[in-house]
């Protein structure tokens, strides 16, 4: 059964998604930015959560809105900014509609997306789009 068509306007937000960030610390990891010792020396607050994990939080928010169409028409481009995330940070994914464009496959929604922590600091910013 097809998902109910949602009506959304430019400058409206899709539903947010909040997660408490967690990634097990593997002392034997090759990527030592995921260890407290190296990350603290690198100027971070602690072992960094992997970028692909942070991206997954945003992807789940987008999947929750677009459903399976995301798997065929989803595009995302983000930059990682600020100090990243560490275990225990409460992260909220946001998506704000910036444009609605017609293309051959249907109506494509273009969004600004970002991930912010409990201090309202953005740690990931970028754009995403999908056929609705």
């Amino acid at each position: 059964m097809a998902k109910e068509t949602k009506t959304i306007e430019v400058d409206e937000e899709i539903p947010v998604l909040t997660k408490t960030a967690y990634m097990p610390i593997d002392p034997d990891t090759r990527n030592v930015i995921h260890t407290d010792e190296y990350a603290l020396n690198f100027g971070m607050r602690g072992a960094l959560i992997g970028g692909s994990t942070l991206l997954s939080y945003v992807l789940e928010m987008l999947y929750n809105y677009f459903g399976e169409k995301w798997q065929y028409h989803g595009r995302i481009g983000v930059s990682f900014i600020g100090g990243g995330a560490i275990n225990g940070d409460v992260l909220t994914a946001h998506g704000l509609v910036k444009a609605i464009e017609q293309e051959e496959a249907g109506t494509r929604l273009k969004l600004d997306v970002w991930l912010e922590n409990q201090m309202r600091a953005k740690i990931l910013v970028g754009e995403a789009s999908c056929i609705q």
């Binding site: 997660k19 967690y22 990634m23 097990p24 090759r30 990527n31 030592v32 930015i33 190296y38 690198f42 960094l48 992997g50 970028g51 692909s52 994990t53 991206l55 997954s56 939080y57 992807l59 789940e60 999947y63 929750n64 459903g67 399976e68 995301w70 798997q71 065929y72 028409h73 989803g74 595009r75 995302i76 481009g77 983000v78 930059s79 990682f80 990243g84």
Partner: protein, 134 residues
Amino acid sequence: MSEKSGFDAIPIGLEMGPFEMTLDDDMVTERVNLVQWENEEPLEKFNVTPPGLTISQHARMKFMALPEMRVSIWAKSEQEFIKPMKKGSKIFIRGRIVDKYTKRGRNYLVSDYETVDEDGDILLRSRETGIYVE
């Protein structure tokens, strides 16, 4: 004449992989738990993995191809989803270094990845920029 080493020696065009993996129940469950994916629709209704579940393998491929690299921190990530990944299927990821540059004293590598299924159909196209530290 001195030989290039480390970052300077990484050739543009360096291939990474192919990396082969089977999206079996154990792998999918482990990754779903790791990223705290809660929406059951892809797994239960469509028998496919949540989007992006294999992206973490890209860093693994980079570490395998670049033994001198100690740290890779994502600066940018671009992903284009083309087809869902079926649970239980085999996928293949091919990667390539497409650019490198130094900015504000930090070294960056730009990598492209293409994930295909057993029929050769493209499932995911990725371009990732990471800080490179030895």
